[in-house]
Point group: C2
Chain length 290, copies 2
């Protein structure tokens, strides 16, 4: 960063008085962290999720910018492609067969063309994930807050359209941000609208899923699997029933965590805009919540 | 098939005298199965691998046609994409963490752009697999018997070029047929040319891998993982050390096994050619071995 933005002095938290700082680079800081930074002009968020940041009532009233990173999008499409293929092809079942040293000639594999996957959220992470699934041949629908059009993907928006697409969804992938509209959206009512035996993958925010409803839906067979990269409380507590549920896959918030150097260009670009007093790209809309 | 080829009478083995049969539809039949079929004009193979068929010295001297099925190619690219992503992202390690109920913030994920994957074999299954990997962003090389050109993939042919590409290969995917040239190709010498800690995925034929050499290469750390959909003896015997090796993934020859109905069009097309006395597509070259 010192090389990419040589005109900027970069310091660590606590190195100089907070009031001398113009831009803060943060990654989900604890509540109150920015209270003393009275002369901030911008907050740069390494995390795509800014819900914790916006929930901080002491956050200075300056623009919050999400740093968009193409590598993060690549990692997200890898994660989503992998976990959809895992459910689609029954690879977890094959691992169980190996543990039992059983060679079983499997039933023929259904075609991706007949597999209906719905992606919730079409932002800079949801869209490449949906496109990767479409290019693997899946029948992809996608739901976003505002209407969008993507070739080869059935795009819908609004709650009525979501309800229309759910009964047709075998695998539901949530890449939603956490907002007042999405909190607890993946709960009993939504699960009940999916066909019996559907699966969900959550790579958005843990708070979008009602985990008690999820466990009930898994136990009664309404859902056949849940793959969760994010959970309500992270790290997931050791005694949480999600850890050991036979139809739950947990990964430790790792879907799209790129090396720090991949953020450098976007940070430098944003700091340049501070310097030139220009409008920011990807400024968070506080009312919208992301 | 009766609907797609109404002019053809379809019978099961043993239903009528073998000498009255003009075309045989087979899926790796036991040696000697076709001995009595003296008036055959063509053998249609459901299996992409025809090595067992060609090894049958009693096979009538008529064209052998491999039935090409787009769905088989789709399934192969799914399998290869999934298992390359599994190695690339360390998803097996995450499963182990879940078993121990351990949430561990992972190291940042390396980019697919920096991950060098080589595909051996660029036929109707190898090529779509290589292309799917390239479209996921991997740095893909591919090796084939005859020179080929594919945009975005470094294509090489001949043994010297193979040796040139191996030191640069982190994940080696074999989609090779079993021929006199490929039998035991994946053995100590080849493993030694890969960088230490490379992985292999075999979706071609078990006989292409020397399994004793493989176990030695895994045990000494030259290879870090082997994913095998095919093995020398199938079903893999219950006491085979591959089953329980911590760095081996076994799947029961399931990479590209599509529903039988997906073969109907290709079967009907081939039978039409028998009827019209036309040359066959995809006729097996017995000298070449596939």
């Amino acid at each position: 960063l010192a090389v990419a933005a040589p005109e900027v002095r970069i310091v660590q938290e606590g190195e100089v008085p907070p009031a001398t700082i113009e831009a803060a680079l943060v990654d989900e800081p604890p509540i109150g962290s920015l209270l003393e930074y009275r002369n901030l002009r911008v907050v740069l968020s390494l995390s795509a999720g800014v819900d914790t940041l916006l929930a901080d009532t002491t956050l200075p009233n300056v623009p919050v910018v999400r740093l968009v990173n193409a590598e993060m999008a690549n990692l997200m499409r890898e994660y989503v492609a992998y976990h959809v293929l895992r459910l689609h092809r029954g690879f977890a079942e094959m691992e169980r067969l190996q543990q039992e040293r059983r060679w079983e000639w499997m039933s023929p594999s259904p075609s991706a063309r007949s597999r209906r996957v719905t992606v919730l959220g079409l932002g800079h992470l949801g869209r490449p994930a949906a496109e990767a699934l479409a290019s693997l041949g899946f029948q992809v629908s996608a739901w976003s807050r505002t209407p969008k059009t993507i070739t080869g993907i059935r795009c819908v928006s609004g709650i009525t359209d979501l309800h229309a697409v759910l009964p047709d969804t075998e695998i539901l992938v949530s890449v939603l941000p956490l907002t007042s509209e999405t909190r607890g959206l993946l709960a009993e009512d939504l699960f009940g609208r999916l066909p019996k035996g559907a699966s969900i993958i959550n790579v958005g925010r843990g708070g979008c899923v009602d985990e008690s409803d999820l466990l009930r839906a898994l136990d009664c067979g309404q859902l056949s699997h849940a793959t969760l990269d994010v959970v309500a409380v992270e790290p997931l507590p050791e005694n949480d029933p999600l850890w050991t549920h036979p139809r739950v896959t947990i990964t430790p918030h790792t879907a799209a965590y790129p090396p720090p150097e991949t953020f450098v260009a976007a940070i430098a670009r944003t700091l340049e805009r501070v310097h030139r007093d220009e409008r920011f790209d990807r400024e968070v809309d506080r009312a919208r919540g992301y």
